[in-house]
């Protein structure tokens, strides 16, 4: 059994996938977490910090995924996404807005061509629906103007070892996306072990994911530094094997600028500068943006800012 898979995955039957996935190197949880903790001690100051904050802002998928979302809520969020800091035009805009499929039209009208519109699809967040429903969910969102689709994998199928169901679904949704970008949500909080996350990452990448994403944000734990580190290692090794760069999105549970900067350090020291841009790394967040803005204001004014100086949306 090799250190890293190097032959292209040709046998996508369930037994072929199982042999491939179960043959991946194991992950020692304590070691992984220790490495993430050490990376978290990096101290980023001054010019580097300012750059990191702006980069983080430009990587945010500003998100609202609530049952009580209305067109009004979505429009307000889109306005903020375009001009996060009304007092400072130099503040970059975010990468994308992220909404449920039925609000894509509203979002696209609000942002025009200036931002990406990402729709969650495939019976988000549970993923428990028929394939027809999932395909319809996806196609409708793309037709309405979404240029990014955030799908969920079938965790039930994964945990019961039905890898080809997971694989085939991802491949089919990728096709239904057309030109839209596909992010595949692993829902790491339900996969539970790092070995599972490693396998699910490879499965998604082999099936055609443009991005692998940690979580729906509806289950805890969502994104963590160790799990993101692990996914970045998988992405790094996938590039070594195939030449293709897959992006990573850390979603849910990232609240402070300090957190965000830690993720950027992990990206920097695992996959390097090539991934330090919104095309290959995203934060799925809602409240993070305001903390980034507060820190940005502190850096430009020299004094601590307060909640009255950032907008609620």
């Amino acid at each position: 059994m090799n250190l890293l898979p190097t032959r292209p995955l040709t046998d996508t039957s369930n037994s072929g996938l199982k042999a491939f996935l179960h043959g991946l190197p194991g992950v020692d949880a304590v070691g992984l977490e220790a490495r993430a903790a050490t990376l978290a001690t990096r101290s980023i100051k001054n010019e580097s910090k300012a750059w990191a904050i702006d980069t983080a802002i430009s990587m945010v998928d500003l998100t609202t995924l609530e049952g009580m979302d209305t067109p009004g809520k979505v429009k307000a969020m889109c306005a903020k996404a375009l001009h996060p800091d009304p007092t400072d035009n130099s503040c970059p805009s975010v990468a994308a807005v992220c909404v449920y499929g039925d609000l894509v039209t509203t979002a696209r009208e609000a942002v025009g061509d200036r931002l990406h519109v990402a729709a969650v699809a495939t019976a988000f967040p549970s993923g428990r629906a028929s394939m027809d429903v999932k395909l319809m969910d996806t196609k409708q969102a793309v037709a309405d103007g979404a240029d990014e689709i955030d799908m969920v994998i079938d965790r039930g199928a994964f945990l019961s070892g039905n890898y080809s169901k997971v694989y085939d679904e991802i491949a089919a949704i990728k096709e239904a996306c057309g030109d839209a970008h596909l992010k595949v949500i692993l829902e790491t909080g339900e996969l539970k072990t790092y070995d599972n996350v490693c396998r699910a990452s490879w499965l998604a990448m082999e099936a055609g994911a443009d991005f692998i994403k940690t979580s729906t944000g509806k289950v805890s734990p969502a994104a963590t530094l160790p799990v993101t580190l692990l996914m970045l290692e998988a992405v790094r090794d996938f590039e070594t094997k195939t030449g293709t760069k897959v992006g990573v999105k850390a979603a849910g549970g990232i609240k402070t600028s300090k957190d965000a900067i830690r993720y950027l350090v992990v990206v920097n020291e695992t996959v390097g500068e090539a991934w330090l841009n919104p095309d290959l790394f995203r934060f799925g967040a809602s409240s993070l943006l305001n903390d980034l803005l507060l820190q940005r204001q502190r850096m430009s004014t020299g004094h601590y800012s307060g909640p009255d100086y950032v907008t609620i949306d």
């Binding site: 090799n2 190197p25 992950v27 070691g31 992984l32 490495r35 990096r42 101290s43 001054n46 580097s48």
Partner: protein, 481 residues
């Protein structure tokens, strides 16, 4: 845009360094009898930090006499319960002054502040905490119902973990009821002197702890002093042998913690990314100035090439530079002497045909530095596979089968530690059983804890420090035979 980390220096202002220090004898700082001093420098900048006293024979005599008096009149008469409380006080003071001590350690030793702050100092405090609790429970430790202290302990420690080595020596000695005279290494005396200040703050009875600074001669005088009951030494195997010869024929009890050339063994089913971290930590942590460093990487031949590629990739993110910068991974080499040794052995590696590689690594102009280095195509017969380099230099060898890995791991006069990386549980335990070393780290490396006994087989020394086994070195048990 590249993500440069701006300098993030820890502030020096947290620590006050005196221009000059005396010897700490009988609870006070006193000048040496013949007034000799020597300088201690910051190896990262070559700046003089302070000057400390050079203890001569009269000073060593005075220190031992103070320790003896304190033992006879105070410390041996004190209950374990009360001794415990003094040691707990010291543990607390160390925690309170941790930041200051970490900065001081980094300045004097050259190790990155992240290590002195996150590894050294927490362990120092933990050692005093752990041993404080034993002071009044010795009858339960397995040394009979009434174990007694030995008396006065002479302790000589190295420069690689100055305050931590002091903790490993002083904490158990005091807990067991002994008094001590300790000599820190000549290049790293400052945290020991700060510890003396902590003894004063704790109101430790005078003479229980004495610190005599000096170099090899001072150490020799201390070890050879006739009124010493116990000698504890951590340092090179060569000096350890000299000390063992020096105490032969006396009644002094001896423990030695000497050098190593540990094998870090990686099997084809290892959790590879964590194994690479373990390899890196094993040899580059503390600039490789670690007796239990994983300095021989034994890779299973079937995965050697990929593992070496992954290792080189990982080494490119190591940051070498100002030890006070919180982002520094690799600090300064402790002295010009040590740097010369590393350079000599590294050159021998090239001369003997091994392939040398280092990541690109800007080296500061002043100070003593050595980039992290890997030698591949190394075999057991190379000097760099047999001799302890004590620097950030890794020698990579290969093996075919577990038995061969064990043979190569054991084929050395040393026996301090071994690393084993494999996902297979039965193989972990089988390997752990077979390797002749006092410490086995399986799927991890460089883990230390006061509850965990540390020490070597063969020429890595004898006796253990830490845990219940470590107490034995400082206790006298009535033994009919």
């Amino acid at each position: 845009m590249t993500f440069e980390y701006a300098p993030a220096p820890e502030s020096r202002s947290v620590v006050d360094i005196d221009a000059s220090y005396g010897l700490f004898i009988n609870g006070e700082f006193v000048d040496p009898f013949d007034g000799q001093h020597f300088k201690t420098i910051n190896p990262a900048t070559e700046e003089v930090l302070s000057e400390v006293a050079e203890a001569g024979q009269a000073d060593v005599d005075a220190a031992v006499a103070a320790a003896r008096r304190a033992y006879d009149k105070t410390w041996s008469k004190m209950s374990g319960k009360d001794r415990a409380k003094y040691i707990f006080r010291m543990a607390r003071l160390i925690q309170e002054r941790s930041r200051e001590l970490a900065v001081l350690e980094t300045l004097d030793n050259g190790k990155p502040i992240r290590e002195s702050r996150d590894v050294d100092l927490p362990l120092v405090a933990a050692h005093f905490f752990y041993h404080a609790g034993w002071a009044d429970k010795l009858e339960f430790a397995g040394y009979g119902p009434n174990p007694k202290p030995l008396g006065v302990a002479a302790q000589v420690i190295p420069w690689n973990f100055p305050l931590l080595m002091l903790a490993w020596k002083i904490a158990p000695a005091l807990a067991c009821g002994n008094t001590v005279v300790l000599k820190p290494a000549e290049t790293t005396p400052l945290t020991a002197l700060a510890f003396a200040d902590i003894c004063q703050q704790a109101d430790l009875p005078p003479g229980v702890v004495n610190i005599v600074t000096g170099a090899g001669d001072t150490g020799r005088m201390l070890v050879e002093h006739p009124d010493v009951n116990k000698v504890a030494f951590t340092g090179s195997t060569e000096v350890g042998k000299a000390i063992q010869r020096a105490v032969a024929g006396t009644n002094k009890k001896l423990t030695l913690e000497l050098g190593g050339k540990a094998a870090n063994i990686v099997f084809d089913d290892a959790p590879i990314d964590q194994a690479i971290e373990g390899i890196v930590n094993g040899i580059y942590f503390n600039q490789g100035h670690v007796c239990c460093a994983g300095s021989r990487l034994l890779l299973q031949e079937s995965i050697a090439d990929e593992a070496i590629d992954s290792l080189k990739r990982r080494l490119q993110t190591l940051r070498l530079g100002d030890p006070l910068d919180k982002n520094t991974d690799i600090g300064a080499i402790n002295s010009s002497m040590q740097l010369a040794k590393i350079e000599e052995l590294t050159k021998s590696g090239e001369d003997e045909g091994a392939e040398r590689w280092s990541p690109e690594c800007p080296i500061p102009d002043k100070g003593f530095w050595f980039p992290p280095t890997v030698f591949t195509n190394v075999t057991q017969a190379h000097r760099i596979a047999r001799e302890e380099i004590f620097g950030p230099v890794l020698s990579v060898l290969t093996f075919r089968t577990p038995e061969e890995a064990v043979e190569k791991a054991n084929n050395t006069p040393f026996g301090l530690s071994t690393g084993i990386w494999t996902e297979k549980g039965s193989r972990i335990l089988w390997m752990a059983n077979k390797v002749r070393s006092g410490i086995v780290w399986a799927n991890t490396f460089n883990r230390f804890d006061p509850t965990s006994p540390f020490g070597g087989y063969k020429e890595s020394g004898f006796g253990r420090e830490g845990g219940v086994q470590g107490l034995g070195a400082y206790l006298h048990v009535e033994d009919p035979s």
